[in-house]
């Protein structure tokens, strides 16, 4: 019989990555009312930035992660300014198509330098695994869980106590209202994209050692993060985190106790089930009007 605890730990480890991806999706959705289908490519871009900084510029591992997060954030802000601001008032289908276009574009651009090979992103730690209370877990997974948890706390504090965080919350609730209290909503949009992209890039650097590095690596994570976000109600930051963990664990339990044949699609069973039974998600207040 397969060990339940081992499955739970592996599920939480994978789920923490899905949670980070979901966070980025939720932030953009809350502010701009659009599902960012290019978020997987932001993850990919972050991973390649970190990889380039580490292998070509020989930056220390930690600094290459910092470089990925900062440049990832810059990329997010540039995308908002260049590709999004002009069309921000268009129908949400148009906006969604813009993100799909961005996704294709970014994959295409990444293939120019990186399309001829699958690269390997070294993990943060040399050790293959540690055994905690009899359960084997890789240090990379521990790092991912720790990152997801601390990012969740940091985001909570950010939205609660910082001026920019409050402005973002205000803009998420009503854009006109935010303008009426003197908030530069353009800056808020750019900052939101930057923040979402920074989280995405961090997720990319954490995911790459597990998934290998290639221009299409983001797609799978986007789908899982999407499932997590739907589960969490798509409007809720804690919902995204919890949703991510649930998707990760359900996947493992499904594969472990039912069948590996449907393990990967179990995430989509979750989406369908949630939309069917509780369309607002576990944490949602409003109905999911648009996807």
């Amino acid at each position: 019989m397969v060990n339940l605890l081992t499955l739970l730990v592996a599920g939480l480890a994978n789920g923490s990555l899905y949670a980070l991806v979901a966070l980025g999706l939720v932030l953009i959705y809350k502010t701009q009312d659009v599902v960012n289908f290019a978020h997987g490519e932001i993850l990919m871009a972050g991973a390649f930035i970190g990889f380039s900084a580490y292998t070509f510029l020989h930056l220390p591992y930690g600094w290459s992660l910092v470089a990925a997060v900062l440049l990832g954030g810059l990329l997010g802000a540039v995308i908002e300014r260049v590709a999004f601001r002009r069309v921000a008032n268009q129908h949400h289908i148009t906006l969604a198509m813009v993100t799909v276009g961005l996704s294709v574009l970014m994959k295409g651009l990444a293939r120019i330098p990186f399309g001829r090979d699958i690269n390997t992103y070294p993990p943060a730690f040399k050790a293959d695994r540690v055994v905690l209370w009899g359960i084997p877990i890789s240090p990379q997974h521990l790092l991912t869980i720790a990152m997801a948890a601390s990012l969740a706390v940091a985001l909570y504090l950010f939205f609660r106590f910082t001026a920019l965080g409050k402005k973002m919350r205000a803009t998420q609730q009503t854009i006109v209202g935010a303008q009426l209290v003197g908030i530069n909503t353009g800056n808020v949009f750019a900052s939101t994209w930057a923040l979402a992209a920074m989280i995405g890039a961090a997720a990319g650097v954490l995911a790459a050692p597990l998934s290998l590095l290639y221009p299409d690596m983001g797609t799978n994570f986007l789908l899982k993060g999407f499932a997590a976000a739907v589960l969490g109600g798509f409007e809720s930051v804690p919902g995204a985190i919890v949703g991510g963990f649930i998707v990760g664990v359900v996947e493992m339990l499904f594969g472990g106790f039912v069948s590996t044949v449907f393990q990967q699609v179990s995430a989509f069973f979750i989406i369908i089930l949630v939309l069917f039974l509780k369309p607002d998600g576990l944490f949602g207040r409003r109905a999911l009007a648009r996807v």
């Binding site: 060990n3 293939r111 399309g115 090979d117 597990l210 299409d216 797609t219 590996t260």
Partner: protein, 401 residues
């Protein structure tokens, strides 16, 4: 009014039809795609999209052979001119690419196709248009089976790869319980078909049969299921990335080998690196279509050839997958003589005998009854950080473990 309109329209259609027939009948003087000093060959493969990672190296290997042939003076006074099209590994696009090569570029023959689904989708077009077709690297059996006058391959088809794997397992002592982890797609299914068929014969029992999805980044459940089933040997029918994920998690959860992979993971060093180092790839075997590991003496000549024409390509096993077909094409063109016709070319192909296949392990043999020119493979494993060729069967003289 309307009734009279029909007349000019149908007259026009008749003229057009006649013109088309005339156009088809006219070039009987010279064979399609052949001029006094050129032979036009079409090529297609995944040059964009996720699989372009394999598309370029494979095509580049074949192109290097053609370029070297041209630089050595060509074939009977003619140079080979290659026209490349992208199929993005997509059946709709591969059909379009092939139609373009045939009807617009008027190629003499086509050498291409590295994705099984996309390549199979072109088989009927090749046959209908009577264009000689050498498959590049796609392994799906039904591309080249049943035998057709126009379709050839020098890549071992999936079933022969699967059969090779089981043959090797049977040659290992004390192996009874077999665990399997596999993808579910045409590529993997073709191999699984022959693996399952070969395993049905007595002596071996399948104790676990796990699915690992494409792009999976985790193989925890698969590994735990296998571990619980206590197999003597594990067959993994996966691509390199997922194979690395599987081996990484096997190590994490103490699942012991031996692990036998397909020729999709021939690059064992690459696989080991992706899985997290040589430690992760102990007791791992894979079938190999090429004569030796990249960098070994057996590959020196082919590597030099690739480097000469594609200095930016990193030599890897797939870089050599397209070469054997190119050698078969060049050899048949040469033997077809200066008066080159498709019939002469096809006759020459069907009489290919013991042709050295460049970097491939096999010798190419094609007869009118068998168009799968290259069936022999060998088994590789890693020893002390180096790839070692074990031959076609396990033998006690090959040190295992």
């Amino acid at each position: 009014m309307k009734r009279y309109r029909i007349l000019p329209t149908s007259a026009l259609a008749l003229c057009a039809a006649l013109a088309l027939m005339g156009a088809r009948a006219a070039p009987a003087a010279a064979e399609e795609g052949v001029t006094a000093d050129t032979i036009r060959v079409g090529m297609f493969g995944p040059l964009t999209g996720p699989v372009s990672i394999y598309g370029y190296p494979i095509n580049d290997g074949a192109l290097a052979v053609y370029k070297a042939t041209n630089d050595a003076g060509g074939i009977n006074g003619r140079k080979i001119e290659v026209i490349q099209e992208d199929d993005a590994c997509d059946p709709a696009k591969s059909r379009a690419a092939v139609k373009k090569l045939i009807s617009r570029d008027h190629v003499f023959a086509i050498h291409g196709g590295s994705c099984s689904g996309a390549t199979f989708a072109t088989r009927d077009t090749m046959i209908d248009e009577e264009v000689p077709f050498m498959v590049m690297a796609a392994t799906l059996d039904k591309i080249s089976l049943p035998v057709n006058r126009y379709v050839y391959t020098t890549t071992p088809p999936g079933t022969s790869d699967g059969a090779e794997i089981v043959r090797f397992i049977r040659s290992m002592p004390n192996v009874k319980r077999v665990g399997i982890v596999r993808h579910v797609d045409e590529w993997a299914n073709a191999k699984m078909e022959s693996i399952n068929a070969s395993l049905e014969q007595p002596g071996l029992t399948v104790v676990a049969n796990e699915v690992l999805d494409r792009n999976a980044t985790d193989a925890t459940t698969q590994v735990l299921h296998l571990k619980a089933a206590k197999p003597d040997v594990v067959i993994f029918v996966t691509y390199p990335a997922e194979g690395a994920v599987f081996l990484r998690d096997a190590r994490k959860y103490d699942l012991a080998g031996p692990f036998i992979g397909t020729n999709g993971v021939t690059d064992l060093l690459d696989l080991a690196q992706r899985a997290g180092g040589l430690n992760a790839a102990t007791d791992v075997y894979a079938t190999a279509f090429v004569a030796g590991p990249v960098g070994s003496p057996a590959m020196a000549a082919s590597t030099a050839l690739l480097k000469k024409y594609y200095p930016d390509d990193r030599p890897q096993s797939v870089s050599f997958y397209g070469m054997s077909g190119a050698y078969a094409v060049v050899d048949a063109l040469r033997r077809a003589g200066p008066n080159l016709t498709r019939k002469a070319f096809l006759d020459a192909l069907e009489s290919t005998k013991n042709l050295p296949a460049g970097p491939a392990f096999c010798k190419i043999n094609i007869t009118p009854e068998n168009h799968q020119g290259c069936l022999a493979q060998q088994m590789w494993t890693l020893r002390d950080g180096k790839i070692v060729a074990l031959g076609e069967t396990w033998s006690p003289t090959n040190p295992t473990n």
